[in-house]
Structures are given as C-alpha cells and as structure tokens.
C-alpha cells in the first residue's frame, strides 16, 4: 500500500485511519471532536481531507477513514481549506467567543460575521457524552438529532447516575461544561443547567474536601475484582500518602533527634 500525503510518500499499514497516519508522520490535521482514548465519531467534520484512491479526489473525514489501498491524500489543499473555513464559520455561530475556534478561524481566514449568531455554546462534538459512557456514569448523552442535538441527561433532569468524575468538563473543547466544588458539593453544569450534584467527602485527617461521595459498587465492578477492598474513603490522597510515609519511616528507620523539634 502506497500512501502519498501532501506529495510525500508516508509509511502506513492497512486499516489505519488517515488521521493516525498523518499524526505518525508529523502532518497536522486540526480536530475538535477527536480524542485518542475514544472511538472516532466524525462529528465536527473539521478533519476533512481530500483523498484520491484512483477514482478522483473526494472529501472524507480523516479521523474515521481507514486507508486500505493506494491513495493520495491532500490535507491542506485549497478545497480542504475552503471546507474547513466554512465549518469553522458555522461552528462559531453556535459558539461565540470560543478562543479555540477564533484561533482556528485566524488560521483559515474565517469570516465570523458571515452568518448570524445562534449561540448555543456547544459545537455538538459529543466528546462529553462519549467520555461519560466510557469512564463516567453513563450520564450524559446527545438527545435529538441533526442541528437540534443537545447534551442532556436522561429526561433533562439532574442525574442520579453521575459519579462526578468531571471527565466531561475536562474534555469539552469549548468549556461549556463546568465543574464547581463549593459548599461541600460538586455540581456539573451543562450550558448553565445542573446535570448533577454530588456531596463531597471530607478528609477525616485534614478536613479538606477531596472527592465525590459515591456508591462505589459499579466502580469496583468495573475495576474487575470484587476482592479488592474499596479505596479508603475517609482520607484524602495527600493525607493517605503522608500517613503511609510516616508509618514507613517509623518502621524502617531509627528515630533520631533533629534538634529542632517543635
């Protein structure tokens, strides 16, 4: 299989996606909805490239297009740049003020005044829903279809399944999902609406609030071994580490006077 990317022959194995090949060979393809830990979804369309497998050039999404035969790939042709410019302009109408989109817009010469704003603070990339399904409590989902897609919890109510891991807030490329720890509670806000509210545990040692109170059954199940005892829920990781270090020091080292006790 011979892959020519932007004029240079590159190494690729059959079945690799265009994006994987490009990244392995140092070719930059911009993405918004891609995360290496998650299945490609081709939601944002920004990774569109031109590919010619002998039947004329076509526009495809690089993140989920597997290469299986000889192909020429153009990752930055005029047609590709024009397509990306339009995608950025349209996404920006939904997500005004996003620094990420503004930066991409500068790169592709996007005209942000071209379309009327319709601000939803969401680019429908679906990363939050996908990461929630993978690592979280399967709380967030995309409801509706087409341009009406919104990030939602079941029945649009604060969810009882959320484990308050905050993966959604961290992965959101436009910072629409917020995780707020205050007054002993952690709240996940999606577009300003509360998706979940979980109590935080207070460390019995230092009093710091450090993590959500959870029914850990499902997490232990997912960890695979029911014999593994649940993590010590009462002590924060820092105290836990310090206490362990102290115990080790007590056990293995002779006490000595430092002279500055106090």
């Amino acid at each position: 299989m011979k892959i020519i990317m932007d004029g240079n022959e590159v190494a690729a194995t059959s079945g690799q996606t265009i994006l994987e090949v490009a990244r392995a060979n140092g070719v930059r393809i911009p993405t918004l909805c891609h995360n290496d830990a998650l299945e490609p979804a081709a939601m944002c369309r920004l990774c569109t490239v031109e590919v010619d497998e002998g039947r004329g050039p076509r526009l495809v999404t690089a993140c989920n297009y597997p290469l299986r035969r000889d192909a020429q790939v153009f990752t930055n042709s005029e047609r590709v740049r024009a397509g990306r410019k339009l995608i950025i302009e349209m996404l920006y109408t939904r997500c005004r003020g996003s620094e990420l989109l503004e930066e991409l817009g500068r790169e592709y010469g996007a005209d942000f005044t071209r379309f009327a704003p319709n601000d939803k603070q969401c680019i429908m990339c679906g990363l939050c829903a996908r990461v929630c399904e993978r690592v979280g409590g399967k709380t967030l989902t995309l409801s509706g279809r087409g341009v009406e897609i919104t990030v939602a919890t079941a029945f649009d109510r604060a969810s009882e399944f959320c484990i308050a891991c905050g993966a959604c807030a961290r992965i959101c490329p436009v910072q629409t999902i917020k995780m707020i720890d205050e007054d002993g509670e952690r709240r996940i806000l999606v577009q300003g609406r509360e998706a979940s509210r979980v109590k935080l545990i207070e460390c019995v040692s230092c009093g710091k609030r450090f993590g959500p109170v959870l029914d850990l059954k499902e997490i232990n199940e997912r960890a695979g071994d029911s014999k593994v005892p649940p993590p010590n829920q009462g002590v924060c990781p820092e105290c836990s580490r310090r206490n362990l270090a102290a115990r080790m020091a007590e056990r293995h080292f002779e006490q000595f006077e430092t002279g500055e006790e106090g």
């Binding site: 399967k138 967030l140 995309l142 409801s143 279809r145 939602a152 919890t153 029945f155 969810s159 399944f161």
Partner: protein, 169 residues
Amino acid sequence: MAASEPATEIICQEPEVDFMLLDRIINEDFGGNRETMIMMMQAIQHEYRFLPEPALRYLSQSIGVPLTKIYEVATFYASFSLIPKGKHILQICTGTACHLRGSHRMVEHMIEKMSVSPGGTTEDMKLTLEVVNCVGACAVAPVVVEDEKYYPKADISTLDKFIERINAE
C-alpha cells in the same frame, strides 16, 4: 373534570405503568434481548401511546442498558414520544413528494381547524397532529396516516371527514 376536584388531578394524567405487561413485552415477546430494545420501545409506545418514564426505567433495569442510552434513542427517532399523545394520531407526510403536492396546506388546515400545533395535542387529549418526513408511499402523495391507517392522495376533505369522526365520538 369538575372544577371542585383538586388540582392534582391534572398532573396525574400519565397512565399507571403495568409492570406485568412490561415484563411480558420485554421477556416473553422479545426474550429480554437487548438488541431488540427499539422493538420493545415500540411495543411500549403502542400500549401507552407514548413512552412513560417509569416504563423506560424498568426497561433499563431489565435489559441492562443505561437509561441515558434509552433516552438518546427515544429522542433520536421522531416516532418515539416522551410526552403523552392524544387518543387519535394524525400524521401528515411532508416529505419531498408530499410537500410538492401541497401537504403543507393540509398541515395549515389542521392547525386552523383544531388549533393544534405540529407535534402538539389538543387540550381534550383527543388528537395529536404529527408532521412526519416520509412514510414511504411517495407514489401516492400526499399521504396522511390516521391511527396507523394510510390514506393515499389525501386532501382537505379527507381531513374534514377525520375531524368529523373524532368530534362525533
């Protein structure tokens, strides 16, 4: 409903969910197989004319599919509804062929006649008007579907007959 009755009556319009019936649908009709979830949901919707939340929660528990996934499917397909529907359902196709043959005028007629918006239900819960995309019978456009019965080459008189019938009930 009498005016003297307490206001809570209005909130309790949703039907009580019959878990025996749900069990029969989920386990007997479809063998509790999660691949048949959409068909189960169709059967549930057929029973209640919408998807009651307790039924979906029970479905989620029974077949081990996260509730959010079921919600996603329920909101993705236009044929599923999470809000109660009227006793009769009128679907007007506004797919390309039907649209070209003037189905939007039938929609306007219904809006005017029954004061119901597309997707909405009349206040007496008698009629739900749905505007659908294609019912797969473009050759006989425009098509309306009244309570799962297809009417080819429909026009305003077809609708008027339907309105008469449900008003006579």
